[in-house]
């Protein structure tokens, strides 16, 4: 699974809206994450979530 952070997504299409706005975004692709042999579902989801948040944070410091 590849984590992808889309910066500005909350303005392009906030929760509950049905028309996306064509605003400028920055897409940050992360390194692929694989399910480890003895990993539980929640542990994997938690790890992918942290990978995603880390990507978002990196994008912010870059700007």
């Amino acid at each position: 699974m590849v984590p992808v952070w889309i910066e500005n997504l909350n303005r392009v299409m906030p929760k509950g809206e049905f028309v996306p706005l064509p605003l400028l975004c920055t897409v940050t692709l992360g390194c692929p994450i694989r399910l480890a042999a003895d990993e539980t579902k929640t542990a994997f989801l938690d790890r992918s979530r942290r990978a995603l948040v880390a990507l978002g944070r990196r994008g912010q410091t870059k700007r």
Binding site: N8, R11, P14, E17, V19, L21, P22, L23, L24
Partner: protein, 306 residues
């Protein structure tokens, strides 16, 4: 005329090639790198305008419709709107913009439709935003949406609208009015940059833009005005009239650069976007045309068109 532009660009490419050779291997030179990408982007932009002109009226309308869309995207991206503006912005992008830029629906100078954005967009978009009942910074947000449309769509739409002017004795040549406007105003930008780089000393608006100098402004506007006067033969104007109009649109173009710099400075960014390499965004390249086009349109319509 296109050959002339190509010749100028070729000269610029040769000059930058020589400069590259001379400074090769020394410390990295950001100014030179920027110059290289600017010249490269100019080749693309001239090719694009040439292609649009080859398709005539339809080509110009499509080109400026796309430019308006790109500019509005850049503008709204930097405007601090809130969730409550979502519907108003969707209407701005998907209803107001197409109605303004697409042919046949709404053309300037043909009655009520010319005031579509300044009147109906102005009132109705505010109403749509109000229905969301988010009052925080309401006036600023509504004003920003309207400004985005006025700058990116309304002002810029005066360029293709030049095709609709009916000037006695100038029938079928209106594309050249667009060529005159774009050529004079853009060359003013370039010449201000060149004069500024060559002998710019005193910054003209240090709070807005450190690269704009008094020397660049005077030299650039004066030489681009001279160029405009010398292009009188492609216009319905006489030599002196062409010079006076060139001076007017060059001053408007300079104001456009100042105003759009002020907004960028406030938003804490250097460029509006990254679509055009070396130049920044579409608004960075078109700010002067955006400010010059309505004035050029109205002066030409008032004094020359029937």
């Amino acid at each position: 005329m296109f050959l002339g532009v190509a010749a100028v660009l070729a000269t610029a490419s040769i000059v930058s090639f020589v400069l590259n050779r001379r400074f090769a291997g020394e410390v990295p030179n950001p100014t030179l790198d920027n110059l290289n990408s600017r010249i490269k982007a100019w080749w693309w932009m001239v090719a694009l305008i040439g292609l649009a002109f080859a398709f005539g009226r339809a080509g110009v309308i499509v080109l400026f419709a796309l430019a308006s869309l790109a500019a509005l995207r850049e503008f709204i991206t930097l405007a601090p709107t809130r969730r409550g503006d979502h519907m108003a912005l969707a209407v701005a992008f998907f209803v107001v913009l197409p109605l303004r830029v697409l042919p046949g629906v709404d053309r300037l100078g043909t009655g009520c439709c010319s005031v579509f954005i300044p009147v109906y967009g102005f009132l109705l978009l505010a109403a749509i935003a109000a229905m969301r009942q988010d009052t925080k910074h309401f006036m600023e947000r509504v004003a920003e949406t309207q400004w985005g449309l006025m700058i990116s769509v309304f002002a810029l739409s005066h360029v293709p609208a030049l095709l609709d002017l009916k000037i006695p004795g100038y029938e079928g040549r209106n594309l050249l009015l667009i060529a005159f406007l774009v050529l004079v105003v853009q060359s003013s930008d370039v010449l201000q940059y060149v004069w500024g780089k060559l002998l710019g000393k005193r910054p003209i608006a240090p709070q807005l833009s450190p690269s704009k100098t008094v020397e660049g402004f005077v030299g650039g506007v004066a030489s681009a005005t001279l160029l405009g006067a010398l292009l009188w033969w492609i216009t319905p104007f006489t030599l002196w009239q062409a010079g006076a109009i060139a001076l007017l649109i060059n001053l408007m173009g300079f104001f456009g650069g100042l105003v759009m710099s002020a907004i960028k400075r406030d938003r804490g960014v250097k460029d509006w976007g990254w679509l055009i390499e070396g130049h920044g965004g579409v608004i960075d390249r078109l700010d002067s045309v955006i400010f010059a086009a309505p004035v050029f349109f109205h002066v030409t319509r008032y004094f020359w068109a029937v």
